[in-house]
């Protein structure tokens, strides 16, 4: 942790200094960690089924550009890029929203992904999913081992699968990469079924300029 953190800080400084000296160069981008994005955590949970209770069934909307949460009243705009509800992540496009956000999961290491892929981005449910299953063909697939997480049935916890980087192309045509690192409140090292679930912690890099590079 220590060495990585100092490296990030160092890189940040280096980039910051070089950034100041040359005005034409695009502003440097840095990795940001967003903690505890509440994805409809409910008001409690039924201890026998492990299922949460008091769910709103609404998605928590996130914008890479603002680096923050967009009010749910703005769900019909293209202000947001991703929406989170439980383990389901939607992108603002096609069946999910009026925008043109697209995403794909790339296998690899977050820090090593320096350039967003040229192709491979998908809108939600495009093409149409299997009949009767509205979210069967999301850009970020749902289900254990299918998308970003793996369900550990013994410990009854969801672990973000190592080496899955979500690359998003926003409605404005800008690129972001993100890695989900925890599904539990305050990102405990060894979460158990008693930790509050449905709280995302993720790292991301947003490139505000018209380039696919992330450095």
């Amino acid at each position: 942790m220590k060495s990585t953190l100092s490296l990030v800080v160092l890189v940040g400084f280096v980039i910051a200094f070089t950034g100041c000296s040359e005005d034409d160069e695009p502003l440097p981008v840095v990795a940001t960690t967003f903690s505890n994005l509440a994805a409809d955590p409910g008001t409690g949970f039924n201890p026998s089924t492990g299922q949460p209770t008091g769910l709103t069934r609404k998605f928590t909307l996130f914008s890479f550009k603002t680096g923050g949460i967009i009010a749910n009243t703005d769900s019909a705009t293209n202000k947001w890029d991703l929406g989170f509800n439980g383990t389901t992540i939607i992108v603002n496009s096609a069946t999910s929203g009026p925008g043109t956000s697209q995403a794909q999961i790339v296998s690899g290491i977050f820090d090593e992904l320096n350039t967003a892929p040229d192709a491979g981005y998908k809108s939600d449910n495009d093409p149409a999913p299997i009949a009767g299953a509205p979210n069967a063909n999301l850009a970020i697939p749902t289900g254990s081992g299918q998308g970003w997480y793996t369900y550990d049935g013994a410990a009854m916890v969801n672990r973000p699968t190592a080496g899955k980087v979500i690359v998003v192309k926003t409605s404005e045509g800008r690129y972001a990469k993100m890695e989900i690192i925890s599904y539990y409140k305050d990102a405990p090292a060894s979460p158990t079924s008693t930790n509050a679930a449905r709280y995302y912690t993720f790292r991301y890099v947003y490139q505000p300029n018209d380039t696919k590079t992330f450095n």
Partner: protein, 736 residues
Amino acid sequence: MVPAILIFASVKKMPSSLKWILGSLTLISMTCFAQDNPVDGDTIATKQLDEVIVTATRNERTMGSLPMPVSLIPKNQIKTMGSLRLNDVLTEQTGLVVVPQVNAQGNGIQIQGFNPDYTLILIDGEPIIGRYTGSLELSRIAVGNIKQIEIVKGPSSSLYGSDALAGVINIITDRPQGTRVNAAIRYGTNNTLDVNGDVGFTKKKLGVYLYGNRYHTDGYDLSPQNFGKTVSPFTNYTINSKITYKFSPLTDISVAGRFFNEDQVFRFEVESNGSRIRTAGNGNTQDWNFNPVLTHRFSDKLKAIARFYSTHYQTETYLNLETDGSRYYQDDFTQSFTRPELNAEYFFNEKNILTIGGGYIKEMVQTSRYGDEENRYQETSYGFFQYEWLPMQKVSVIAGGRYDYNSIYGGQFSPKLSSRYELNKKVTFKVSGGIGFKAPDFRQLYFNFNNSAAGGYSVLGTEVAIDRLAELDAAGQIQTYLFDPALLGNLQAERSVSINAGANIEVLPSLKMDLNVFHNSINNLIETQAVAITTSGQSIYSYRNILRAYTQGVESNFSYPVMKYLNLSAGYQLLYAKDRDVAEAVKAGEVYWRDPTTLVTKRLKPGEYFGLYNRSRHMGNLKLFYDHKPSGWEGSLRVIYRGRYGIGNIRGNIQGEVIPPSDTNSNSILDIYDEFVKGYALVNISAAKTIKNSLRLQVGVDNLFDYTEPVLIPNLPGRLYYASVSYSFSKKNVQP
């Protein structure tokens, strides 16, 4: 059995292979003379290679003549070890691991890194059924009436059909011989009481043998802080009988039967509506079998055997809530298996022997887990051949194959080729290759099981999945499909292609070593496939042929008579068992792990992937057996080591404790950064004294240093003391 061994020691010296085959026929009649009377000077090191084994070829052959890896555990060794149940014996053998089946029934046996479902277990050549959740509960088998246990490693589907991928364990039971009466009682830790006895007599053409056993244990509790026991108390009864009748010197019949009943009393704490509630219940298991075998020798050259085998297994479990006595859980399972078979052995001459056979199997399964109580049937017709060619005394080649046609999974051809070359008196090479298969089991075809107790999930067999999913869908209960249901169905048999190569070497005078290198390449492995998520968030699973795996390694055994009555042996197995797709992905740099404390993701390097769960890279044993026939003293000291291994994502718990999976770094595979179950060694000792060839007193301690690992190794009780007394009477009676 001692005279039989001596017969073979002498017969083997004759160059003619026909003679040793005829010798083995003589064995059957000669065993009538055999008694429990020890012969002076017969040490435990006696010519192990000359013992007779039937499993490898379906015919009596001396161990030394066989070109595949075989081993034999004789009765006297089982007695010296003080074993009571089959799992006690197998757990001490090189390369065999008794692994707990956490959410399944009891314990199974792992050979060459294969799961327990992939080893065929036979009693007198006929399969034991009751693979309720995949593996067989080995403790169903009492060892008191076992003459010997034969173990053939590597695939034997060419002779035995389905399930014989990793190997075959054949339990050979006692036959009527002379007049004998044995009675034994043993008492030990956990209020474990074993009482068994047998009577046998032969009178002219008739032989009768009857064995009975009652076993009771209070079970044990590895986590006393939790309600209930790790293993609940149970009592079982076994009755075995065998009647032989010689119609003429050329024709004889043997009729064997078995009955087994076990009752277990459960007390568990379960979660119900958010609170922990105590339950009480019962489990009952029964099995029986009936096995007449008619043998006729048409001539010196042709022997034919007609066998019939019918067996039945049933188990029923229920749990009631202690509060109001209402039913909390109920599960039942019934299986039957019936098989007529004919086979013949033809001796063209001393160098060419042909065995052919064919049969028909009808199997039935019925269980509440299929959503209804309907009977499900499966039929298999099969034919097999085996050709033994012995061009020279130094060389033998066995080629065989079997074709099975099954009503569900279609046809399967399983060939096998083995050969042996005797370089000189000290070195013999062996190599064998073959294909093994395992049919999709009833569970994978017909499961319609909804587990609301453990977190909530459903499992649907491939034959029912499509219809059941359509029903759920129509009822609006499917939230998301994870896999296209149309692609389910048509499960294929799992197949392995295997090679075993090795040598028997006399390193120094009396120091014997055997070495076997094995590689098994397994395709079409059936694995659960998540298919859908319901609106209430439960996962629905079915099965697909998706996985590929390989297991490879080296097994080696040494045996050395330190003194005339003291034998030292050592065994070691090195094992690599890996998922082929994962291994390839690691090699390609596509597998990652996340450090659980720093949450930083890294790439897994080749060599950091450990392999499949529940496989130890290293295992070994060191054993000292003392058997001083003149004074009647015998004893043993056995050290059994199992190296570290990982635990997979087992959906379930032991006695309220969640079993922590080894994978702690979010890549769902076992790598060197994960948590392992520590390696451990068990030390077992025993001593016995036989007085006047009839009264035998034995004491022993298993797991001397009381090693336990409560949650991770639930099948390992702590230290067990025991003492036993047995009395045997036997009288020679000469056959007319």
